[in-house]
Symmetry: D2
Subunit: 366 residues, 4 copies
């Protein structure tokens, strides 16, 4: 199989770097274009990027020239790690030009016709692509979002509980510094400290994105999960891995064993199980009394599994537990890639045998 | 005024060290005897203690000989920083022998006739001393407990809200490593990590101690606050300062302004305000959007004030907010000292002009 | 005594905040004007400054209006916490206008006629003020620098060893994050990490500033200490306190006891001992086997004492030891204030009974 | 090829866990017996070990019964992660019984007939095995040590410089907490702190082990590298990865380019290059101005490569630089495994086709 060409928007930032790292040796996708800010454009990636992940950038991107944000390019698949502001206009413009845009930005997540896709739990929301194409007059293009990184362990752990009737959800997060990008959180603010606040309306995002992600596609519309969701967010001195303390109220009477079984048996739809980035097991319940822990559990399933522990009765709602997901893998770049894999498996890139619309006008950047 | 002589039980441990540090230059109390484990007994304090606080032990205790746990001694006032197990028998025995024991241990906190004293909010619980003396046949002696360190910011922040009818309280804690004593938490467990568990039934303690502390003394009995309280506890890489994320459901409809006013106006009973260790203001509401923070706010009021921030509506209960207290000052040694100051102000040490019962048999340790 | 009025340049930055904190309740000086960047000018201090120290800004500065960098003002004493670039021109201009400028900036430290003043070890370098006034035509004005924060524990610990003939000095630093100001070091760079590099030619500064500070004023010139000095600098995840591992080669044969005695007996010149910010003991030798430690020893002498430990033979040079100073107190604002106190004690502010030159043209900022 | 059976001594400790982790799926070796303390013996590994590495113990060891320290067993290859004291007698006893013991303990490192083996730099020291067998009357057995974890980045970076004549070496270390095992360093000692001391004569070990490892085997004896070596050791709040700041004096005049080339070209002997655990490149010189860093570079070459950076002239010796090795992989378990691989490649396990001496008497533990 010829690999699908990929462009990365915001390639020099922290999430952009995760895309590059996770796409190294990807079986279906290959990085073709790197797109950055005006400051980066025209320089090689090695010059333009201050690599903040472990090690060094992969040799394959070292000498690629970073393209400006308004460059035209020919990769059918676009991963966007743009900040919210530039994403507002650029992402739909690229979709209109025929690209399939898998975005990590928050700009379009709550648009009614944009799927907030998490393949294991709402693969059918992909149906919104037809809605958006119809409504916006797009042809081969599409815009697919993945969620805020903190909502990830919440919705992953709640998804198997939908059958029990989720009524109320109370979340307190302890979020890693990498969630704020680079340079992000000043060390003077977080060393020997906790900050009981995350900017960018984080608490509201958790509330509204959980409603949408756990909702059901009915006709052209995602109907929100009808549950009350509240969140209180904190930043802790942890490099990677967002931990949430969750209390949940359920409509049905259900035992702890039933809940643990629901988690451990959860696999997501069969379409998803065999995707290259899908973890063998999306959810693990850890029986140790003091898990999950960010440093020790964030890399479960190569950073794509969610770890859960400490299920116990809650005096306020019904049950409480702790859950953890890797915020820049499962909660950002890894989920975008899994989304794109689902699209590929569903044939959304078959149309791209032929060149996309504007290709003739592009001079390749590398 | 002649100072009241003080003995410290468990003087070499982390909380014992805080007692020593806070009693240095105390206007009413002076350290007379230091009591430690068998390992420490017979050595000077400087030899026996591995000082884990900042700086070095005060010169005044350097050369004091540490006495064994079963030593008899003549200080009327005893501060106990014993672990739970040795406290079970030793503390009542000392009270029976005539000492007034202010304990930080958990052993007797929930005994019906032991006041779980926090002067600003339940100074009248001191009335249980008469109950315990009557019931146990104690004479000058008494046993007064202070609470678990994590419940402290919870009850301090809830106390002024009692007038609005507290019905439900949901707490998620982010606790400092010093709460576990020394050596306490291994660094390999907590660096770049959060542990979603605190041993010693921490969550249950928060629940039951909050009920008792916020309860009302009726006759010989403290009637618990009739509210549902639930807690989920986490350890974070912070040296000192326990931060809690609290959601509260109130019987009355009340505005955020009313709550903030209740906090800022709260002073505790007039008996308490002028005690040497009482902070000018027990509670501060911080209007900055990202406070309180452990490192920046733990020393408010010399570590005796509780800082509150981020009051906002809660989609599950009525309101949520963050609160912070210094766990080894307000949450441990400092509160014990404030309790003893209240007793002194109320005349409980007046009886000690004359020597206490067993004094004749004691050869002073230093 | 009427207090001397003080202006703080760069008042909203991290070092400016330390000036404000340390000058609160100062017996000789009072803050009169706060001067900041264009972004801050015209706003109140509470609005303009993001306070990064513990607690909140003192009430006395809360409502002061921040003046722009080019404002004229009338305080005779100026503490400068400016970055290097704006300091280059502004500081001499203020001295030319008649102000006594005590600067923490690096811009003028190595100018031949600017004293690099550390009162305990080179109080006589103050004589350069006459040189600079003569050479530059200044009248009441003067420019006095204090050193880089990292050289501080080096020169403090070496000063008493000058009598033994210092020949070679090898320094490896482990520096706190606060040395980089705010926002300074991104947390993603330093959590669970060490950075073996400090920008701004830190290693060169240590070398050249040590030469000058330990040198001797001969006529109009400071003659450098004729010793080889080398430094390798590292950033560690510590909030405050720069620790250095020092090896030293001495001309004379000297025992460890003699060195420890030299340190503990060191007091600096009698002029200095009674200054308000002078610590009782500038140097402490700690006999514990694992000290000094940044968190536990940085506040020795209210942050103005240097702690030394672990003296032992060095297989390469003669002896090695560890030394620690608080980098933003002794190594920055506190030293500037001590310098100004020395000037005050020497009568340098006596001339200011009468208003300084440009005062007439100033409209007070608050 | 049938895999060589392996026993791990001290299997439940932190280094024992690394052995288990690194041997999972090893192409030549398979874990056969796990040996622990009396406390662990008789329990399954999952029950006995508090796993401190990431994730959970591999399923293959979950249900293995831990054997007591004095158990007889039949694996020809023994990896020892014992503490020093039990290693003193047990390791030679096992070698006498016919086992090949690759030990990480310090007990026998400096014995004249025990190779302190680091395959890339002194593979020929393996010749000491014949010396020890002759001297001690051992048959198939042998005792091979690997070095202290902190000396590793020192000797790895110095090895290629031997040709330039190493005369003097000055080392200041910044060591990770995992070097102290588990529970190891209390978090109250290291959070927001540096400890300028490592117990267990760490500085002396670095000095003497460097001499031996960089020495040359002449006849039956390793002749030490005739260079002065001094070390000052510090503990820093880093999970894994020991960073050293090194200054070196060389006999020959050599340029920085020549040194960097010597490092990058270094491969070790051809015997070593193709061993399963040998990194492609033992040394990497990083040209970025602020590397190597523990968190970002410790996993270079799967934790087996040493990263070097910041080569520059030293005012005291000739050159200085920073170097980093992963302390529990390259500096402990990984190096032991590489040593065993070298022995296997050299045929030292060929004798074990037949059962070893005491095998008949063993009842296998699992």
């Amino acid at each position: 199989m010829r690999k699908i060409k990929v462009a990365i928007l915001g390639a020099t930032g922290a999430v952009g770097q995760r895309f590059i790292q996770l796409l190294e040796n990807h079986p279906w996708f290959e990085i073709h274009e790197l797109i950055g800010s005006d400051r980066s454009a025209g320089r090689t990636y090695a010059e333009a990027a201050r690599w903040v992940l472990d090690g060094s950038p992969p040799p394959s991107v070292h000498d690629k020239t970073v393209l400006p944000l308004d460059a035209e390019f020919d990769s059918p698949l676009v991963f966007s790690a743009l900040p919210k502001e530039p994403a507002v206009e650029r992402e739909p413009a690229l979709a209109a030009a025929g690209h399939i845009v898998c975005t990590n930005a928050s700009a379009h997540r709550m648009a009614a016709d944009v799927p907030l896709l998490l393949p294991e739990i709402n693969a059918d929301h992909i149906g919104l692509i037809e809605v958006q194409r119809r409504k916006r007059g797009w042809n081969t293009g599409a815009l697919i979002a993945n969620s805020n990184c903190t909502v990830m362990p919440v919705v992953m752990s709640l998804a198997p509980l939908r059958v029990f009737g989720i009524e109320r959800v109370h979340v307190v997060s302890m979020q890693a510094i990498s969630g704020a990008g680079y340079p992000g959180v000043p060390s003077l603010d977080i060393l020997d400290n906790v900050i009981p606040y995350i900017g960018g309306s984080e608490e509201e995002k958790i509330q509204e994105e959980a409603h949408k992600m756990l909702g059901s596609l009915e006709g052209d519309v995602v109907v929100d999960l009808p549950a009350a969701v509240g969140a209180a967010c904190n930043r802790v001195p942890v490099v990677d891995g967002h931990l949430v303390s969750v209390s949940v109220g359920l409509r049905e009477r259900v035992s702890m064993d039933e809940i643990i079984t629901a988690w451990n048996d959860f696999r997501g739809s069969p379409d998803v199980v065999n995707l290259p980035s899908a973890p063998k097991q999306p959810l693990y319940y850890l029986h140790e009394h003091d898990r999950p822990q960010p440093r020790r559990d964030r890399m479960a399933g190569n950073g794509m599994s969610t770890s859960i522990g400490r299920l116990r009765p809650c005096p306020i709602l019904d049950y409480k537990y702790s859950a953890l997901s890797h915020n820049t893998i499962r909660g950002a770049a890894g989920c975008s890639i899994l989304n794109a894999e689902l699209l590929a498996a569903k044939g959304y890139f078959d149309a791209f045998e032929a060149p996309i619309a504007h290709e003739a006008s592009i001079s390749a950047g590398d």
